[in-house]
Amino acid sequence: DAGITQSPRYKITETGRQVTLMCHQTWSHSYMFWYRQDLGHGLRLIYYSAAADITDKGEVPDGYVVSRSKTENFPLTLESATRSQTSVYFCASSEIGDSVDTQYFGPGTRLTVL
């Protein structure tokens, strides 16, 4: 099905473990984004990518790593998870063109770090 998917939808891990959250989109959008959603903060941008092999930091990049070897995938890795990274993570994509700036969001991954 066309769209943007995230996996896993729920994840529980322990402090210090490495965790990778997956994001896949079928539209071939150029731009992809990772946000975290926390109460009182709304959505904050972690990293974004303008195209394959082009990534840039957002507002809160510390503790996270991204890669984009293929246009359709944009995984987010927590190299050594901390409790402060407990959050809901959303991936989004968008394209420059007629529908400029409309970001399409995935369903989210709820991550709990114990």
Partner: protein, 113 residues
């Protein structure tokens, strides 16, 4: 730096009454403004956007928003609220030349029967 403020954490309205969810913004140039809605356990869904042109923008599900440059506001409105409109609403801004969106903290809308 661009920023967005949503001054109300929660808005309560009775079904059938008009609703307004407030948003003010700050950018150094011309703004691109957006409203998104989030239903429980779901991702954000695009509602509407202002790029240029008419100050009143119409969007999905009967929502509209009014752009006011002098007050730097972009309030979301609906003439008659439905219980199913109950959700979390986010205002966002993008500045010309930048691809990143900056989101507000969100306003929870509760529509009572």
């Amino acid at each position: 730096a661009q920023s967005v403020a949503q001054p109300e954490d929660q808005v309560n309205v009775a079904e059938g009454n008009p609703l307004t969810v407030k948003c003010t913004y700050s950018v150094s140039g011309n703004p691109y403004l957006f409203w998104y809605v989030q239903y429980p356990n779901r991702g954000l869904q695009f509602l509407l956007k202002y790029i240029t042109g008419d100050n009143l923008v119409k969007g999905s599900y009967g929502f509209e928003a009014e752009f006011n440059k002098s007050q730097t506001s972009f309030h979301l409105k609906k003439p008659s609220a439905l219980v199913s409109d109950s959700a979390l609403y986010f205002c966002a801004v993008r500045e010309l030349g930048f691809q990143k969106l900056v989101f507000g903290t969100g306003t929870r809308l509760l529509v009572s029967p």
